[in-house]
């Protein structure tokens, strides 16, 4: 009963959905303005891709919708990763690296390690989906979790700024995967085929997530449902359990949480580890659900970074994440439709930047509105309790 109640809780739901929609509209506006600008400078193709195709193509062609959801699958997870860390007051910018590691280790497990295990034990269960799918997901989770644990531990024990450590780890992760699959000289998991470099072999059939629709241009796979499930579980954990309660307490006011007996170090580490793991899952589900079911370097494109933008638009709320991920899925799909020579892949970065800047905008206006209310309340409080230390301004949660 309480779960439904919280979903229907008027305050929370309408507030965040409204905010998400405002952010989306502003973001969409920003993107369209940019696209129009590009069109004016002569790039008709992008214009076509975003404007003319949208109505004719998207609402008449089911596989296009399927593909939007296909892209939304990893975005939900990477955005969720950012949101989890944010609840604890932390910024996880390491989604790229965590997703990459999740992907490469899932592929290594499914393509190489399982094969070797079978060779030595001859157990057929090793090849069954009942075994392979959960373990592949688990391995992906663990790989990402490790690169979430490291900055979390560093932040808790040494105060090292998690924004920079996660970005450094992105670079390290990108080197690690190059080591793992980059060259036949030293890479343990590199593909054995003669054309394969910077990639693994395809993973075993038992580890693959099948497509939902049986059509060649609809990529949607069961990973989508997995990501929705994870979204739901994490939402419950964060808002409806003691663990989530403690996490949010630490995120809002670490010192008060400690005075109430919460072990803030441990919460920070848990939050970052969980966050990294979810990003790792993004990589795992992507590899497991996308033809040709193998890992190749930079498969994740910009999905890790996209997660940051998605989470920001969604005001870090789970329902918002689902909506925003679909919007970004649409952006990504459109971009993919246009060929590489006509539009650089990095265009999505520009979109994200606009999105972030404009995502801050509703925050800004809300901030201003709430600031007026807050100033009034503060002054009232000042009047009620003058000359006391409590007239110190509230400490805003520092993410540093």
């Amino acid at each position: 009963m309480s779960l439904q109640k919280s979903l229907l809780d008027q305050d929370k739901l309408t507030d965040t959905v409204l905010d998400t929609i405002i952010s989306l509209i502003l973001a969409a506006l920003a993107i369209y303005i940019f696209v129009i600008f590009l069109a004016l400078t002569g790039n008709q193709i992008i214009f076509d891709g975003f404007f003319t195709n949208i109505f004719t193509v998207y609402f008449t062609n089911p596989s296009r919708i399927g593909n939007v959801l296909y892209w939304a699958t990893p975005l939900i997870l990477t955005a969720l990763a950012v949101a989890i860390a944010f609840q604890a007051g932390l910024f996880n910018i390491g989604g790229q690296g965590q997703m990459a590691l999740g992907g490469v280790f899932t592929a290594a497990w499914g393509a190489v390690i399982i094969k070797n295990l079978y060779r030595s034990t001859k157990l057929t269960i090793l090849y069954s989906p009942l075994f392979l799918i959960p373990t592949s997901l688990l391995i992906g989770f663990i790989a990402g979790a490790i690169f979430g644990f490291i900055p979390g531990w560093l932040k808790a024990k040494t105060g090292a700024h998690e924004v920079i450590t996660t970005i450094m780890l992105n670079q390290i992760a990108s080197s690690v995967v190059k080591y793992l699959v980059g060259s036949s000289e030293y890479s343990p998991f590199i593909s054995q085929s003669q054309y394969g470099y910077s990639q693994t072999d395809p993973i075993n059939e038992g580890a693959r997530l099948g497509k939902i629709f049986n059509s060649s241009d609809n990529y949607l796979h069961w990973g989508f449902l997995i990501s929705l499930l994870v979204l739901l579980i994490i939402h419950i954990v964060i808002y409806r359990t003691n663990f989530g309660f403690q996490l949010r307490a630490v995120g809002f006011n670490k010192e008060a949480a400690e005075a109430a007996g919460i072990n803030s170090d441990r919460m920070i580490i848990y939050a970052m580890t969980l966050s990294g793991g979810v990003a790792g899952l993004a990589g795992a589900t992507f590899i497991m659900g996308t033809y040709p079911y193998k890992y190749f370097v930079d498969f994740q494109g910009t999905l890790g970074f996209d997660g940051i933008a998605v989470s920001l638009i969604a005001q870090n709320s789970p329902l918002g994440i689902a909506i925003a991920a679909i919007f970004f899925g649409y952006l990504t799909q459109t971009q993919t439709n246009l060929s590489v020579t006509q539009i650089p892949g990095d265009l999505i970065f520009v979109f994200q930047a606009w999105v972030i800047i404009f995502a801050v905008a509703p925050n800004l206006s809300r901030m201003i509105y709430h600031r007026k209310k807050r100033i009034a309340a503060e002054e009232q409080e000042a009047r009620a309790s003058e000359e006391s230390d409590s007239s110190e301004p509230e400490t805003k949660e520092e993410l540093i």
Partner: protein, 399 residues
């Protein structure tokens, strides 16, 4: 503090005591120990990958030290460090003023790209560098407006700037040249400073190379880096960068502008009640840091090379932040720390030359600068405290 009452201490203990109390010696000792640990790790890792034969650890140790102390390495260190150094010095300014700008990476990218574009159009790399400085300052201004006037979350703005830079440079490259990478342009021509009249011969006196043929002393001099000598024949941005070190130091620590900036980062309200316009100085610091980072980016594209391509900055903007922290938010410290990181960036090439059958896979060696950066951030290389009021927008009580 312990008071020494007896004088009957062993000479070793006395030396230990002296080292403990002199902080410069402490820093050098720490760096020395740090290098030794790195060598050990390199040796063991190399051995793991090499398996057989087992390299003599003493020889390995000697090779690395010879390489570290070679003039060639010093020159490389300088070239690799310069972009990081410029950005780190800039970051010092804006963090001292209480603002965090992780968008410096993005500004370096912009700077690198702008330098190439303007050089392409004007055929003059100097104008390119100038344009990079200007572009960097402009983006710094954007960050300043967002975070100081609109009080947006500083981290978020930085992330947005990075993404904007990454994306726009690619988009523009495609629009302008129709390809994924820029064409080659004229890079900066190196200057043979030893051949400048008057100044040249004076500098030559300080260069060790002049004395290499002197018996005994020459042999000794060959084993240590010829710092002044390494300065010869480098492109102008290097000299500008080196000149900027004392200039920035003086600006931050010897002028009243610098004093006010530092006060603002510690206690902006105190500055405000003293009648200082807090926002004005913050704007200045942030724009300055943008300009320096832009220059740093230009060094990467038209200083060392002659092209811009994606990934050329590769996280150096963030390394600069680590260098700043390592340098304890001072100019000289940031510069020295940047040199250290410069060394780590050139490790891959160096090691494959100096160590026979060097077997650590290159991608893994590439992780070293980033691992060191993380260690610096974690304070494993000495702790320090940032300016007290950093990261929070200054909000005067009345709007």
């Amino acid at each position: 503090m312990t008071t020494v009452t007896e004088s009957s201490k062993t000479p070793l203990a006395e030396m230990f005591q002296r080292v403990k109390s002199n902080s410069l010696l402490r820093v050098l000792l720490r760096i020395f120990i740090f290098i030794e640990i790195i060598i050990l790790i390199l040796y063991l890792t190399n051995q793991v990958f090499l398996q057989t034969p087992i390299i003599n650890p003493i020889s390995f140790h000697r090779w690395i030290w010879e390489d570290i102390l070679s003039t060639f390495t010093f020159a490389q260190m300088l070239l690799a460090a310069m972009p990081i150094m410029l950005t780190a010095m800039g970051a010092t300014f804006n963090e001292r003023a209480g603002n965090i700008n992780i968008g410096l990476e993005g500004i370096m990218i912009w700077g690198a790209w702008t330098a190439v574009y303007v050089t392409y159009v004007t055929n003059n790399p100097f104008l390119g560098a100038l344009a990079a400085v200007f572009a960097g300052a402009m983006i710094g201004l954007l960050h300043a407006i967002m975070t100081i006037t609109f009080k947006a979350e500083q981290i978020v703005t930085g992330v947005a700037i990075n993404l904007l830079a990454l994306g726009m440079t690619q988009v523009l490259t495609l629009q302008i040249w129709g390809k994924q990478f820029t064409p080659t342009v004229n890079k900066m021509q190196p200057i043979k400073i030893f051949e400048i009249p008057v100044l040249g011969p004076i500098l030559k006196v300080f260069s060790f190379e002049t004395y290499y043929n002197v018996p005994v002393i020459g042999g000794f001099l060959k084993g240590i880096p010829d710092i002044v000598g390494a300065l010869n024949n480098k492109h102008p941005l290097i000299y500008i960068g080196l000149l900027l070190i004392p200039l920035c130091h003086i600006l931050l620590f010897k002028t009243n502008i610098g004093l006010r900036i530092r006060v603002i980062g510690e206690h902006p309200q105190a500055a405000a009640t003293a009648g200082i316009n807090v926002h004005k100085y913050q704007y200045f610091a942030v724009i300055l840091s943008g300009a320096l980072a832009g220059l740093g980016g230009a060094v990467l594209s038209i200083g060392n090379n002659n092209i811009y391509k994606s990934g050329i900055v590769g996280g150096r903007g963030f390394i600069a932040l680590a260098a700043m922290i390592f340098g304890k938010w001072t100019i000289i410290g940031s510069a020295l720390a940047s040199m250290l990181f410069g060394y780590f960036f050139s490790l891959n090439i160096n090691l494959s030359i100096t160590v026979p059958a060097f077997s650590i896979p290159p991608p893994l060696v590439n992780t070293i600068p980033y691992i060191v950066a993380i260690l610096a951030l974690a304070g494993f290389i000495g702790k320090a405290r940032p300016p007290k009021h950093i990261g929070k927008p200054y909000d005067p009580t009345e709007d």
